[in-house]
């Protein structure tokens, strides 16, 4: 039972981290219709910038400055790249961000090289916060949870209580109408893109030290972020949150508990072939849940799209 | 004789609001029927319900006596009903000729064939040419449809609609947004191409309606308040009231 609690906390950390990425992406996606393939690349940039800044000014300045820099770069990309491609339609836009992701990875390698960066968590956050039945919860994880919740709260406040937030919310559901009402939609787009990428940058800053900072970090997280927002449903921040948590817990529990295909198959009445290494089905029989934990979200997404193309909480067609 | 199109107690609600509130309508084969009504009366909704674009809440739509409930648009089309759209709805990146040829494919029995070459079928190409001639677009046949003028696109839209050889043709505001001369051109075109077919149209332009239609139905707030020949309808006091009322409301 204690382990369940620990796994819940671990899954929460993963889920909230994912949410920080998917929140920005879902804002961008639902508003502009752009599946920003480079979103995880901005996450990577966040980590690298923060590392570079932390060498000179320490972790906290990195946390403050790096997301701003990433956000400015993101806004620049929207202004000078995406807006130009926008006229050609959604597919070229998507392909543009796809190319951008490749380019960012190459540029990062050009500047920082191909090795892992020794980006460390700050001394003040080292060590354990508390322990549950011998399982320590590192202080840094608690920090991650609080920061994510803080950002989520801030986002919620901005979106529901401010004028800009109202416009964004309206634009999420009715982009054309909002434009017709005379709002400067290109500016809103640029702002949303900037804020969305800055959120990805924050995620990079705080994930860099624990999930390691290396040129492949964007690819590792890349497509899973789409999976999250597609599962959650387009235009729904709440859906993104739920989907992030589902994925966080799903993968954590699949890794933590050895569910074996063998048990499932015998449970539903199959008999194990003997000897197993001669059977054509040997790979199926020896499957365990940790083996497939990180591909479960893809399976979940395909199933959801087949049976519910709008996602869990989406109102709009994907 | 079965009606070409028979609508019985058709209803449609969006959420709480009932937009179509029990429509009954019978259109006989060969009839040219126009549906008119003030803005927001539900004309386009009625159209979309008949052609299977929206599912109805209640009621029956029957084409030649066959219930259309639950049928997908392509199935309805195959049963002999073809429609145009209020907002121009063509294949913009394909040439004018390709647009027309594509609309002939199913009716000529090509289905999902991948063993026939479209270019090698004389009947298909000649059929397409004939329609191009009818809608007077031969000179523009090889340019992408998206580059046509608005009136030409409307003409092409009608061409696509009639090409399939459906015997019930439904046109949704065919002259919307057109100048007088363009309207006359389209009117002649419609009269020409629907010869011998059942025509159902929604139209704002009263000139077009009274010039083309054999019978007219007036739709107000989701209900048909009158159906009859143009003269009958014009004389109907409820119609006058509805149009006058709408006009008065608009003034406020």
């Amino acid at each position: 039972m204690d382990l369940v609690l620990v796994n819940l906390i671990d899954g929460l950390v993963t889920g909230l981290l994912l949410f920080m990425l998917s929140a920005g992406l879902t804002l961008i996606f639902s508003m502009m219709g752009v599946l920003n393939f480079a979103h995880a690349s901005f996450y990577m940039l966040g980590a690298y910038f923060a590392y570079q800044i932390s060498i000179f000014l320490g972790f906290w300045m990195g946390l403050l400055i790096a997301p701003l820099v990433v956000g400015v770069i993101g806004a620049g990309v929207e202004r000078y790249g995406l807006r130009r491609v926008h006229q050609y339609g959604h597919v070229p836009e998507l392909i543009f961000t796809f190319g951008l992701a490749l380019l960012i990875e190459e540029v990062v390698q050009f500047i920082w090289g191909k090795d892992q960066m020794p980006y460390e968590i700050p001394g003040i956050l080292e060590g354990a916060a508390f322990a549950i039945a011998g399982n320590t919860i590192p202080l840094y994880k608690v920090f991650m949870i609080f920061l994510s919740l803080l950002i989520f709260g801030g986002l919620l406040y901005v979106l529901t209580k401010t004028r800009v937030g109202m416009i964004i919310q309206a634009a999420l559901s009715y982009p054309k109408t909002v434009e017709a009402l005379g709002h400067n939609v290109p500016l809103v787009f640029m702002g949303v893109f900037g804020v969305g990428t800055a959120l990805a940058g924050v995620a990079g800053v705080i994930a860099g030290p624990v999930l390691s900072t290396f040129p492949g970090m964007a690819v590792v997280l890349g497509s899973i972020v789409f999976v999250t927002i597609v599962i959650g449903g387009l235009g729904s921040l709440f859906g993104a949150l739920v989907a992030s948590l589902i994925i966080g817990w799903l993968t954590t529990f699949a890794k933590a508990y050895d569910v074996r295909m063998e048990d499932i198959l015998t449970g539903i009445g199959f008999t194990k072939p003997d000897p197993i290494w001669d059977s054509a089905w040997q790979d199926l029989w020896t499957l365990t849940s940790p083996q497939i934990a990180d591909i479960l979200p893809y399976l979940l997404m395909v199933l959801i799209l087949i049976f519910r193309p709008y996602g869990l909480f989406g109102k709009r067609d994907a | 004789m079965t009606a070409a199109l028979e609508i019985t107690n058709l209803r449609k609600s969006f959420g709480q609001t009932e937009i179509i509130r029990g429509v009954d309508l019978q259109i006989m084969p060969g009839e040219r029927h126009a549906v008119i009504g003030p803005n927001g009366a539900g004309k386009s909704t009625l159209f979309n319900l008949i052609t299977g674009r929206f599912p109805q809440t209640a009621g029956v739509v029957a084409l030649h006596g066959h219930d259309l409930k639950g049928k997908a648009p392509y199935e309805i089309n195959r049963m002999g009903l073809s429609r145009s759209f209020q907002i121009t709805n063509i294949f913009p990146k394909m040439t004018v000729f390709e647009n027309v040829r594509c609309s002939l494919l199913w009716s000529m029995g090509y289905r999902y064939s991948f063993w026939n070459m479209v270019a090698r079928s004389r009947a298909l190409n000649e059929g397409a040419e004939a329609i191009l001639e009818q809608i007077n677009l031969q000179r523009r046949r090889d340019i992408p449809a998206g580059m046509l003028s608005y009136a030409e696109q409307r003409a092409l839209e009608i061409g696509i609609t009639i090409a399939g050889g459906a015997d019930v043709i439904m046109l949704d505001e065919p002259t919307a947004g057109m100048s007088h001369s363009e309207t006359d051109y389209i009117m002649d075109l419609i009269r020409d191409v629907t010869e011998g077919k059942t025509l159902v149209m929604v139209e704002h332009d009263m000139g077009v309606v009274f010039g083309l239609a054999d019978r007219i139905s007036v739709l107000v707030y989701g209900e048909i308040i009158a159906t009859g020949t143009p003269t009958d309808v014009r004389a109907n006091p409820r119609v006058q009231e509805a149009y006058l009322g709408a006009a008065l409301e608009a003034e406020h």
Partner: protein
């Protein structure tokens, strides 16, 4: 107007039979393929050409989805991959393979690719757009992940290998040499390209374009958009499987990389680079990309950076791809004004090219200075050997880059003006 009527006529007539004008591009391409090995005789050149041919088939099959059907797929590699895996399994199935001439093998790859497309397509083609794209991504990831889990079929990360020479000799040819494989591949290239071209001219191929442009309208013409997409998808899976079979014959090994997301992504890149709007676009894309990947990467470690930059620039400035750029010159050609463009092109594009090359040179020096070993400051660039510690090459490359940029920028308005002129029909046609 006599002109158009004439056109109409010839088209209808041409439609009823095979004319020289229609067959000519194919004949030229075939002759070209026949002659190539006599021009580039080395085995590595033939290997690279084989790779190109496979990529061309794969890219064309991808364009059946993206360009012609409007379906953006992120998992197309799996159809090529499983087709190839099956072919290697057939190679290892002695009794059967011994009775099978090798040139027939790709058919099986095609059928298997088609089989998988049949299954996946049955649920993924119900919708286009994002739903299709995301299902293709998910299915692609799942199958790629399976490749290391289901060892029986995919052989784990080291893949499975076979030997093509164990097949039934084909008119005495055992396919020991690359050149024999080349002609086999070239034969299949022509056959598949022709097949895909003709497919686009069939009713379902035409309707694929219609559904891409306007699925709703297509529905009101009697066609179910879903089934049109489905048939295109299945046909595309078939040709991807053929490409997989040819891959199996060429490399005699299939691995996880044939299925993964990187391969699926790069074929998107190839196709878009070449141009999705024209049938021959992916052909150009495949040739250019293969050359960049195999030849440029021998020259510089930064090749991926250049390819990435080229790709982003293409999307931003030439969404029609390389084929689109080529075809932009059709109107001037028809108007007989192509010659007008020659001088402005030289005046603008030459400095631009020099600017790009000099910028690349500058980047190379920077890279060398950052990453080279101490004492190893010598580097060779554009036939010149110099030291990166020397400021002269830095300044020279920088100056040339800036100069080229300035010159191109200065002459660009003239090019734009001439371009408009060359595209305007002044009526003065000879």
């Amino acid at each position: 107007m006599t002109d158009t009527t004439h056109n109409t006529h010839s088209d209808v007539l041409a439609g009823s039979g095979l004319t020289l004008a229609k067959a000519l591009p194919w004949l030229i391409a075939s002759a070209f393929l026949l002659v190539m090995p006599f021009v580039f005789t080395s085995n590595s050149a033939i290997t690279i050409m084989n790779q190109m041919a496979i990529t061309i088939i794969f890219a064309l099959s991808y364009n059946m989805l993206l360009g012609q059907g409007g379906m953006l797929s992120f998992g197309h590699a799996v159809y090529m991959g499983v087709g190839g895996f099956l072919c290697v399994h057939i190679m290892n199935w002695d009794q059967f393979f011994g009775t099978l001439p090798l040139p027939v093998l790709p058919i099986f790859g095609g059928l298997f690719g088609m089989g998988l497309a049949l299954i996946v397509g049955s649920f993924s083609t119900r919708r286009a757009g994002t739903v299709f794209a995301m299902i293709s991504l998910g299915v692609g990831e799942l199958i790629a992940a399976c490749s290391v889990i289901i060892v029986v079929f995919f052989g784990g990360e080291e893949g499975i290998s076979g030997d093509r020479t164990y097949g039934l000799p084909f008119f005495g040819i055992e396919f020991l040499q690359q050149i024999e494989v080349y002609y086999l591949t070239a034969f299949w290239l022509v056959l598949s390209a022709l097949g895909m071209f003709l497919f686009s001219r069939t009713p379902v191929g035409r309707m694929a374009n219609a559904v891409r442009d306007n699925p709703e309208r297509a529905e009101f013409l009697g066609y179910s958009a879903r089934w049109v997409r489905f048939y295109s998808f299945v046909a595309s899976g078939f040709f991807a499987g053929i490409a997989g079979g040819l891959f199996a014959i060429n490399y005699e090994i299939l691995t996880e990389e044939n299925l993964n997301l990187a391969t699926s992504g790069s074929i998107l890149l190839v196709t878009f680079l070449g141009g999705v709007g024209f049938f021959f676009g992916p052909v150009i894309g495949a040739i250019v990309f293969t050359l960049l990947q195999t030849v440029l990467s021998l020259q510089t470690e930064l090749w991926a950076l250049y390819v990435g930059a080229l790709f982003v620039a293409t999307v931003m400035f030439f969404p029609g791809g390389l084929a689109g750029v080529l075809m932009m010159h059709t109107p001037p050609l028809v108007l007989g004004k192509l010659h007008l463009l020659v001088k402005p092109y030289i005046k603008t594009l030459l400095p631009a090219a020099i600017c790009i090359l000099a910028t690349a040179g500058f980047i190379e020096i920077l890279f060398h200075a950052r990453h080279a070993a101490i004492g190893d400051d010598q580097m060779t660039l554009f036939w010149m050997t110099f030291s990166h510690a020397n400021p002269v090459p830095w300044i020279a490359f920088g100056a040339v880059a800036l100069g080229g940029f300035w010159l191109a920028r200065r002459n660009a308005p003239e090019l734009v003006e001439t371009w408009h002129e060359a595209n305007t029909d002044t009526g003065a046609r000879p």
